[in-house]
Point group: C2
Chain length 148, copies 2
DNA sequence: AACGAAATTGACGTTAACGTAAGCGGAAGC
DNA sequence: GCTTCCGCTTACGTTAACGTCAATTTCGTT
């Protein structure tokens, strides 16, 4: 059976008061962050999230929610899930905190360097292609001129 | 047995005259373009290259060499091998040529748009991360100040 | 009790571009 | 005649981040 996301056009039962609650179901988070249930379970398998269990069901705390936010942020800026997990694990040790922050800061800076390299590569590809386009256009114009 | 590339420090038997030849072995092309033999065979399986056979051995013509050049160019600018093959196939029809050029030109322009989008994404990631770095630095400085 | 909706686990599938291993064949050199 | 070198084929492995499917199970209604 496929996992269904139907039936919530505007009839969400989360009132203003309930929005301030501290626990979320898997569907809550999936909806809020636009990911699938499968994704959340996958992140759990990878050790990125560790929701409590109420019997069989997963219950996500605010901390889980915050971690998910960080995971998605990390993905956006190009970190792999493994890298993200390492940083989250570091962040959880909470003892020397300063050291952990420095480690993450270091990673961030390295990633910025990598991203800037990637940006340059993309820019080169763009100018290569642009040049090629110009050449092809030139050829086409020439032919048009000859044919006309 | 691993495929070996040893024994050619400077004793290449390709004289100036021989460089102008019209046929190449698989190793020739691999060396010249910095790809592995496996890669060239893989490209062949994918229909990107179609070298002649001299018995068992592959013999690459200048046309094959030119196609390889185009393949690597295409990869550099972000096309998949399938996309590259399609364009090469088009290019081989050689009949209405102009149409084919226009098709490729269209693809190129689309790819440029895609690349520019990718560039923007990377730029956003960079500024996100840069901001995060600033925040973390701020926190660290604050702590240092308090501790000292 | 029955039903449907939502959730669970487990496992295999997907995509791209090759890498890697295993085993075979022919030519060259000693 | 044996080893090296070079190449060949077949086929499974790899990486990332999930998707998809199957077979249940739990829950809240009716």
């Amino acid at each position: 059976m496929k996992e269904h996301f139907t039936h919530f056009p505007s009839d969400d039962d989360t009132s203003d008061i309930e929005r301030a609650r501290k626990l979320f179901t898997i569907s809550d988070l999936a909806r809020e962050f636009g990911v699938t249930l499968r994704t959340l379970r996958f992140y759990e398998d990878k050790g990125l999230l560790t929701p409590r269990r109420e019997g069989n069901a997963r219950l996500y705390s605010r901390r889980d929610r915050a971690r998910l936010k960080l995971v998605l942020m990390g993905k956006r800026v190009g970190f792999s899930l493994d890298e993200i997990r390492e940083m989250l694990d570091l962040y959880d040790l909470k003892d020397g905190q300063e050291t952990q922050l420095r480690v993450s800061l270091e990673r961030f800076r390295e990633q910025i360097v990598a991203l800037e390299r990637q940006k340059r590569d993309v820019e080169e590809a763009i100018s290569d292609l642009t040049r090629t386009c110009d050449v092809v256009e030139g050829i086409l114009k020439q032919r048009t001129a000859q044919a006309g």
